[in-house]
Symmetry: C2
Subunit: 331 residues, 2 copies
């Protein structure tokens, strides 16, 4: 089954643009509660599965050996803005490992954070790898790598760090990965199905009810994400705003090319969304709609207007267009 | 008929994202040479029809009365970067009219141009309406308005300026407009069909072979766009790069929400493209493919690699993904 229309952009009473995608909601057993589009569609989770990539960091004993805090674990799961609240702790974390920026393999990225970007631009300073939205994840990889005494190229698919990530990824998605792609941060990103990704999120959502090594690791990562929404993304970002709007009771994570995941411990549900054209405005609208649908987000919270129901303002602040859920989608 | 798949994004040998759309190529009579998707689909041309919105400026005699140069006419058709080469001439043009920035109704916009943006950010200066990518079009509206002695709210749909634009728009598209929306710059943007927009571009492409008042106005606007590609968009932009790559023999124009038009005077063809999800990366790839298909663009020109065939590089410059035309599209 193909992707289905999910979000429409209307202007002057005429449909201007449209986004189609897939979405799956899984229950506590990993079964499908509801699905739109094709649950068997193969996708790249991209950054939406960073909490999966962080599991070996805890399971291996590396997190305990280096005394990682929940804030550091939140950064390991983050696609951050490159603000001082993100880059500062990453620098100190690297120093604790006896490492530095040059040991990262994520590449440089101009930060989204306004102040950080202004500071770089106005001082004619190039951004570095610390500003990369994945620098926390990569410092987590380096922590695991130090614990494993691996070589410096920790992003190679055959490196012990990535072999550990792949093994865990296939176990929590409960599927062999059909392959991998190189992510924007140069780490391998393992493909899975929509159902596999939603099932992995359900695993995280139900871990608190179990007591295995991996369950405790998953519970700690979800708790860290919910406790530090500003570290997982940053001010003004959808992940941070949505987690705050739900009072720290739900963990959500975006990924490049319009992927969005949600972990709902109270409801014991996992959600995965992929918009086929890669538009974040649509994945943000759809995850907002689904969080309302499952009862995790109050439809009257201001964040709903921002990502779903509010007007699209033009450069004079005039309501020029509006987003609407496509007919038949979560009506 | 629905939009058809046109552009795919592949990563690690797996299809990651996809863009669907409509495209129409019209001949010198306005007939359809080739079409993909639905030629009768109603769309908003957005900024891709700025040359149409500029026709009344010349036809009315306003351009002659104020001695507008071809560079000014290129700016009237522009979605510019807000660079000094754009804002400088707009300021002088407004002064020639005895007007200023406050007379514009396009709203402020942070310029895309790197130097202009840096200058504003590092001096804590807010962008103004001159930086708006539509400030040239609006100064053209103000020139026509001065000639017509109209009121200051020249963007109202019932204002003589916009009534003139609508009349010309419906004549060159050869269709009554089913309605309008408010554009990002607050001017009304009139809807038409894909065929109507491509037909309008074919009108511009063939105007040089006719000698009516409107034909001469269209010929001058196309000549101005082709003569000043850097004014129509700016350094690094697709319109500018594609027009330069075709040696100033073709005029192309992008519009918001992934619209792209092309005017080919030598081939007497007009092209219209709309990607339904609004992704510029896809509309740029498709117009590039169609310009090659009709024989206007050399498939070996470096610009083709940039917009269509080149790898998608990640933050370390590694080829992480690639764009491909969807099977069956312009193969």
């Amino acid at each position: 089954m193909a992707a289905v229309p999910m979000v429409e952009l209307w202007r002057g009473g005429i449909l201007e643009s449209m986004h189609a995608g897939h979405a799956v909601i899984c229950d506590d057993k990993g079964g499908i509660v509801e699905a739109w589009g094709d649950p068997e569609a193969v996708i790249f989770p991209r950054s939406s599965c960073k909490m999966v990539q962080a599991l070996p960091l805890i399971e291996s004993g590396a997190a305990a050996a280096y005394g990682l805090s929940d804030a550091q674990l939140a950064l390991a799961c983050a696609s951050h803005n490159g603000a001082a609240i993100h880059t500062g702790p990453v620098v100190r974390w690297l120093a604790d490992l006896g490492l530095g920026e040059a040991d990262l393999r994520c590449g440089p990225q101009m930060p989204d954070d306004r102040d950080a970007r202004k500071g770089l631009i106005c001082s004619d300073t190039k951004p570095c790898q610390l500003h990369n939205n994945c620098s926390g994840k990569h410092t987590g990889f380096l922590t695991l790598n130090k614990h494993l005494n691996g070589g410096p190229e920790y992003i190679d698919p055959d490196h012990p760090v990535q072999r550990a990530v792949r093994a865990v990824f296939e176990e929590v998605t409960d599927l062999p990965s059909p392959g991998f792609g190189i992510d924007g941060c140069s780490a391998p990103n393992f493909a899975t199905t929509m159902h596999g990704l939603a099932r992995a999120m359900a695993f995280f959502a139900t871990a608190h009810g179990r007591d295995g090594l991996r369950d405790r690791a998953a519970t700690r990562l979800v708790g860290a994400m919910m406790a530090y929404p500003e570290l997982v993304a940053g001010e003004g970002r959808a992940c941070t705003n949505l987690m705050r709007a739900m009072g720290g009771r739900v963990a959500v994570k975006t990924g490049a090319e319009a992927v969005f995941t949600a972990i709902l411990p109270d409801l014991k549900r996992g959600i995965a969304v992929k918009i086929m054209d890669g538009a974040d405005r649509a994945s943000e609208a759809v995850i907002t709609a689904l969080l309302i649908r499952v009862g995790a987000l109050d439809r009257n919270h201001p964040v709903v207007e921002r990502y779903l129901t509010g007007p699209v303002l033009n450069r004079r602040g005039i309501a020029a267009a509006e987003m609407r859920l496509a007919p038949g989608f979560t009506s």
